[in-house]
Amino acid sequence: MPADLTIPRSPHRLPALVRARLAVALAVGSMAGAASRVAGRGSGASIRGQLMMRIAPDALANLLPGRTIASVSGTNGKTTTTHLLAAAVKAAVGADRVVTNADGANLHYGIASALAVAPGRDVAILETDERVVPDVVRLGRPAVLVLLNFSRDQMDRNHEIKSLGRGWRDALSRAGADGPVVIANADDPLVTWAARSATKVVWVDTATSWTQDASLCPECGTMLTRTNGRWACPTGDLVQPEATWRVDGDAVVDPDGTRWELGLKVPGAFNVSNGACALAAAAELGIDPEAAIRGMRTITSPAGRYATAHFGSTTARLLLAKNPAGWAEALPLTTSGTVVLAIDSAAADGRDVSWLWDVEYEQLAGRHVVATGPRAQDLSVRLLYAEVEHSVVPDLAVAVAGHTDPVDVVATYTPFQRLRKLGGLT
């Protein structure tokens, strides 16, 4: 059954007791959230959500039903894709019907927190952490689930990315005919393997070039082959599906063969892929591509990505890169003569910085790099072996200060958030 956004739904009215507990949780949480913002710790929304989940652990189960939900997951690009899809939906049905977790708080409590403050909004566009997808599918019965990609990220926490894929696959097969229409990146073997168990899949050829994380068939473990940019298991048990939507340069071709120039304000081929998935998801929600694209073009700096910040006299563009696949996208976008690279290994960054050696920093040779953040010295040794001229300035605020020409800054998650604050963007 395709989602029909022309008739507004009314989110379930919560039982009185649940409502009362949520109200208490929200009140307590708002105070804590404000306090944490003052103290400069984390997003207020996440703190509020964490407290809410403690006081009302079934909050998500109560807050999801009754809405038309689109959930967006994957290792990279889920924040941007969520922003693009939410903007597309808002352009079609009006902003006042749409709730989204725009700040990127994508765990149970982040989602619950966003929903709790928008009881009347019947369309929810939810960025969803890979680990939370099964619960959102089970509890919220989303109309649409966008599965972008799988790559190595935070291996200190997720030992095998395949187990995340297995979680998606099992959730989709359990949901059966009630399950979401899955918008799946056909270029990603693990996404394909997980999405296959859904009742309906819309395959998108995203023209993705990153293949380092997918060498074995998730079904049988045989080495995948790649011919003419298409992957296949030689045993034939898993092959790249025929896509109905595909990326073609800066445009997206829909199932009817119509080319849509996206004209996005967010840069890079990677975001054209994200835009293609958002466009296909919007179409599945019954939204006309023209309206969808009009909305998507309003997105310039989702949750601070690609935003321009000012640090004293320095003008800096902020790029986020969380893992080798993300760095492979971000580094070619940098154009400044001096590039600032900020590395941390807090929990949100992954405690292990081995991934530095999977990033081709060699491409920065000939430019000057400022290595900063708590793990700047690890980067320094990486740059030494890459023979890239650089200086080490561990303090973030010092590293971004005093540049006369504009600089590009690429940062892992924690320093990225600090830079947004330092630059007055949050």
């Binding site: 190595r152 291996m155 200190d156 030992h159 095998e160 395949k162 380092q212 994380d213 060498s215 074995l216 473990g221 045989t222 080495m223 405690r351 292990d352 910085v353 081995s354 991934w355 530095l356 050696w357 999977d358 010295q377 690890d378 320094s380 040794v381 990486r382 030494l384 072996y385 890459a386 023979e387 080490v392």
Partner: protein, 244 residues
């Protein structure tokens, strides 16, 4: 003279923790000394060169381990190279597959390894994830600290033909006792990736010296000394290796 050949074995299977960095480190440490070096990346299905001087095996998931063992056994050139005097550095999952047996999957299925190290790996009672520090005994009997990051679920027991590389000060290592890693002839296995040679230039030069058969001149690089001091200081707050 032909360049020293460093073979990165099955990068897409055994390279999920930046272990390709070990190849970068080894080749640069040679070229910076004026010794010609090249890195050859071999993927499964391609033939391994039999005339390399150093072979590198890195970390990977269960399925990748069994695939690598099967392909390397079928190929045979790793064994020929060892017979010809090559050195092997095997890290984490790569270390485990060098042994006689190891376990995979939820049901701990015991599968045969390459048998080039007299070690056996079984699922441990904890997963070892975190910074590791161990005291490595060098060939001349002196010791040096090795710093890295370990992330493995298997514990490794050494047989009579292998000797431990060092003694764990922080972290888990081989897991059953205080030992870490193993060396047997010119095969060196160790748990920390990181990649391990980036933080431990003496270990890098040890692998090169095993392969070349002569000792190398010192190669001072202050940036690496700073990093080592930082990482060793960072684990000093960590508890000593727990008794089990």
């Amino acid at each position: 003279m032909s360049p020293v050949t460093i073979v990165l074995v099955y990068q897409s299977l055994l390279g999920i923790y930046g272990d390709r960095g070990n190849a970068t480190v080894l080749s640069k440490r040679l070229t910076w000394r004026g010794i010609d070096a090249r890195v050859v990346i071999v993927e499964p299905g391609e033939e391994l060169p039999a005339d390399g001087q150093v072979y590198l095996l890195g970390g990977g998931e269960d399925l990748a381990q069994t695939t690598a063992v099967r392909e390397l056994t079928k190929d045979g050139n790793l064994f020929r190279a060892l017979d010809a005097g090559a050195a092997v550095l095997a890290v984490c999952a790569g270390y485990q597959i060098c042994g006689t047996t190891f376990t995979i999957g939820e049901r701990d299925e015991v599968v045969p390894g390459l048998g080039i190290l007299d070690v056996e790996t079984r699922r441990g009672d904890v997963r070892a994830v975190g910074e590791i520090l161990y005291r490595w005994t060098k060939p001349d009997g002196t010791t040096s600290l090795v710093t890295g990051f370990e992330n493995h679920g298997g514990f490794t027991r050494l047989g009579a033909d292998a000797r431990p590389l060092g003694v764990v000060e922080k972290g888990i290592g081989n897991g059953y006792d205080h030992s870490e890693g193993a060396q047997q002839g010119k095969v060196v296995g160790t748990y920390p990736h990181g990649p391990v040679l980036a933080r431990n230039p003496e270990l890098a030069d040890h692998v090169l010296e095993l392969a070349l058969g002569y000792s190398l001149d010192p190669l001072p690089r202050p940036a690496i000394d700073v990093l080592r001091r930082q990482r060793i200081a960072a684990v000093s707050g960590q508890p000593e290796r727990p008794e089990r």
